[in-house]
Amino acid sequence: MRILDLAYILALGAGIGLGTAHWAVAGRPAIGRVEVGAWTAWPGSGSREVDPYMRAYLARGVHLPLGSGEGLELIAERDDAGQPLDGRCRYKLSGATPTARGWTIGITDGDGLPFRLPLARTSFTDSEIVRPEDGSLSIIAAATPEAGNWLPLPASGGFQIRLRLYDTPISSQTGETRVANLPRIARIDCR
């Protein structure tokens, strides 16, 4: 009976221990996450003192996160109302971007890869977008063509919007960034 007990303890320990470890680092870990409006960032991932969960997540694939002094990556999987982003809808990105030497905004799948769409426009840089007279940002993300700054979306299914800021002072104080300083993501309509 002792052996049975020991086997039960070992099986439980190994099963739950390994299972939860795999689950914790299969995606970007919840620890170290900073949420500002619809945007999520992991500012600690590019520092010397990266937390063990992020370190394990990064070590499981070929990742090279942006350094804290180099830039910051923000990921949105939901719109401002909290609804998951869906290719069947149209979205308007507007507002401001934080002070940065340059930025890029792109559409990717859940793994951070660009979609293979007929029109190879997966992202915009700050120099590429057309701005109105007041200099504000306005990008439409939709599966069907739009006038102005148009980011094509897949016909259906979830996607991510990734905003990468280069040489920005906000990477060290991401938590204090106000929602108004980041682009808003508003759903226009859905098919």
Partner: protein
């Protein structure tokens, strides 16, 4: 009659009464072993999380160890390249990335980057995760970024070799691992900048620092 009517309940009660302590002991044992299993699970979880970066052979530091061996940064491989190297995950398509791997067992490494119009950033990624150092071209002096990567022992050696009373002008970055990657990223503002950006990124020189 009374004896007949009294006997069966006694017989029914006695096995239950005998089983109750056994059931209780079994339940206690189950709870104790489950608790022990959960404590072991916690330990296994923590050890696994801490061991993954050390044991992983699929991270960027291992995958790109061959890049930059000839003293210049090499662009990151595209998916399906001839060398069989894995592509970088979550890469920005508007950025040109070049990599120089370092191995400090033979001595410190000198990194020299020329700057240009497109924004350039250099980062030092140690093996096992963590960005040790990041510098952008805004810190360039006369269009050049230059620093030395060394271990703590090599830095102590260099400080000891410094001229008495003179401060060294070189920028020394200490890496706590002997191996790692130097990553040069150049932002492509416009697609037409690609040639310039590639020249800047691959123009980063990383060779052995000559002593003295």
């Amino acid at each position: 009659m009374s004896a007949v009517s009294h006997d069966p309940p006694q017989r029914r009660h006695s096995p239950l009464a005998a089983w109750r302590p056994r059931l209780r002991a079994g339940f206690t044992r189950f709870v104790m072993t489950t608790l022990a299993g959960l404590i072991l699970a916690g330990i296994v979880h923590i050890v696994t999380i801490l061991a993954i970066p050390t044991l992983s052979r699929h991270d960027a530091a291992h995958a790109y160890r061959v890049l930059g061996a000839d003293g210049h940064a090499e662009p990151i491989p595209l998916p399906g390249n001839a060398r069989g190297l894995p592509a970088l995950r979550e890469a920005d398509p508007n950025v040109v990335t070049a990599i120089c791997s370092y191995d400090l067992s033979a001595g410190p490494m000198r990194v020299v980057a020329r700057t240009g119009t497109p924004p350039l950033g250099l980062t030092l990624h140690r093996q096992g995760g963590g960005v040790l150092y990041a510098i952008t071209d805004r810190a360039a002096i006369r269009g050049t970024l230059e620093f030395l990567v060394m271990t703590e022992a090599q830095r102590d050696e260099r400080i000891a070799a410094d001229e008495e009373g003179e401060t060294s002008r070189e920028l020394r970055v200490v890496s706590d691992t002997e191996q790692g990657l130097i990553v040069a990223r150049v932002l492509l503002r416009l697609p037409s900048d690609r040639a310039d950006a590639e020249a800047l990124a691959t123009g980063v020189a990383c060779g052995a620092a000559n002593q003295g």
